[in-house]
Amino acid sequence: MKPPIRGRTEPPAGLLRRIDAILRGAFPSLVTLGLIVLAAVPVGAPGLVMAVCLPSVFFWTIFRPSAMPPPAIFAIGLAQDLLTLAPLGSGVLVLLLVHGVIMRFRSLLVRQSFWLVWLVYAAVAVAGAALAWALTGLLNWQLPPSTPAMHQLGISMGLYPMLAWVLSRAHRAMQNAEA
């Protein structure tokens, strides 16, 4: 016979509660994967997949790192490389390195205003595009043109505020649900 427990314990983890928690944890990665898939639909602007992927990973790494762990980023990067014709692994490496760098300065970034975060995003996007360009060149053994990278960079920087607005709404809703 077990001794009776004093005080109130947490309510037992019911199935619904468990599912709710799992879904909330998986929401950022699933939304990012969904965005990548949707971005592949042709609208006349090539390179949209990567332009959508980086803001999403950047945002969740800053504001909800527990929901964007490295394995999820690995999967997202792999999906991105497989959907596009990019050399396999290049997108994975770029996203993981961005995650690593952002995690180091996360405590600073999370308190900053939107404009500063956008500025940091722009810098990260430039570094990421340069790294992706170099990796593509190295792995294909052929110097890739720089104009598509510029295009993608522009789209990605322009998309960030829009995506961040939507994602911060989602983030706040999740915080309310957890409170």
Partner: protein, 287 residues
């Protein structure tokens, strides 16, 4: 659920990033070492996502069409003037074409000419951009009844688009003529000079390797050449334009920025494909 002690879990969390970065390098090596595996993984993923894209593409296509309609309405006056001028010009050409057609028929009768068989083709919808930043490709939704095959030639309603490079069970990837890895043997129609059209990820691919003294001239029509047995000769490709920097480029007839539907022609040519991919059985037991 796996239960781990807290320090162990923390250590694992701290180690996971470096380990995954190492794994990313491993994936890069794997991608270089086994291109066939990567290709298959790409097509499995594309096949799996094809239903999603097919559904999403409908409203996106509708919006695109609406935007185009609005643009057309906006430009209706200028467009009308252009069309009238073009119509006059084409009327003159029609007379010439009819005269040439009858002359051609007469000559063929005299020569007992055996005409080329009409090639088989089927039409497939473009559902996704399959290229990314440094590649130009599109993904097509192919039905089971459509025998998509590597090496098939894709044309839109105006001209040459690209070649099928990867085939899945319900999707196919077409490498566009503008892709940096695209090399198309072409003929300049006026001089019959051969050249190679090299993609550079920009809108207009460049011309290279034309014969000495037969430089492509502005406005020359460019058609495919049967060199290397990859394409039939005479498919319309584009028109030569000299760029500001002094390089001959091809303005493609096909509108690659607004591809909705392409025709896949099977000319039965296997020139550029490596021998093992021709000998390999077709995927999922088709054909």
């Amino acid at each position: 659920m796996l239960r781990l002690s807290i320090p162990l879990r923390q250590a694992l969390a701290r180690l996971s990033l470096p380990m995954l970065i190492a794994a990313a390098f491993g994936v890069m090596l794997l991608g270089k070492a086994d291109t066939l595996l990567v290709e298959r993984a790409r097509m499995v993923l594309a096949d799996a996502l094809m239903p999603v894209w097919s559904v999403v593409q409908e409203p996106v296509g509708a919006v695109n069409n609406a935007v185009r309609e609005a643009e057309a309405l906006w430009n209706i006056r200028a467009e009308n003037a252009r069309l009238r001028e073009e119509n006059d010009r084409l009327h003159r050409w029609q007379a010439t074409a009819l005269a040439l057609e009858s002359e051609n028929a007469l000559l063929r009768r005299q020569l007992a000419w055996v005409p080329d068989p009409a090639p088989n083709f089927f039409t497939a919808r473009v559902v996704a951009d399959g290229g990314g930043t440094y590649a130009r490709a599109v993904l097509l939704a192919t039905a089971v009844a459509m025998p998509a095959r590597k090496g098939q030639v894709a044309l839109d309603e105006r001209g040459f688009v690209g070649r099928v490079t990867e085939v899945g069970s319900r999707s196919a990837r077409v490498l566009l003529a503008t892709d940096i890895n695209s090399r198309i043997p072409i003929t300049l129609e006026n001089s019959r000079a051969r050249a190679i059209m090299v993609g550079n990820n920009a809108v207009r691919p460049r011309l290279q390797h034309w014969p000495e003294g037969q430089a492509p001239r502005e406005g020359d029509r460019v058609v495919t050449s049967a060199e290397a047995g990859a394409f039939p000769s005479g498919l319309p490709v584009g028109v030569v334009r000299w760029s500001d920097s002094g390089a001959p480029e091809v303005e493609l007839f096909a509108r690659l920025d607004r591809l909705d539907v392409v025709r896949l022609f099977d000319f039965g040519l296997t020139g550029i494909l490596p021998p093992e991919s021709v000998a390999r059985p077709e995927p999922r037991g088709r054909r």
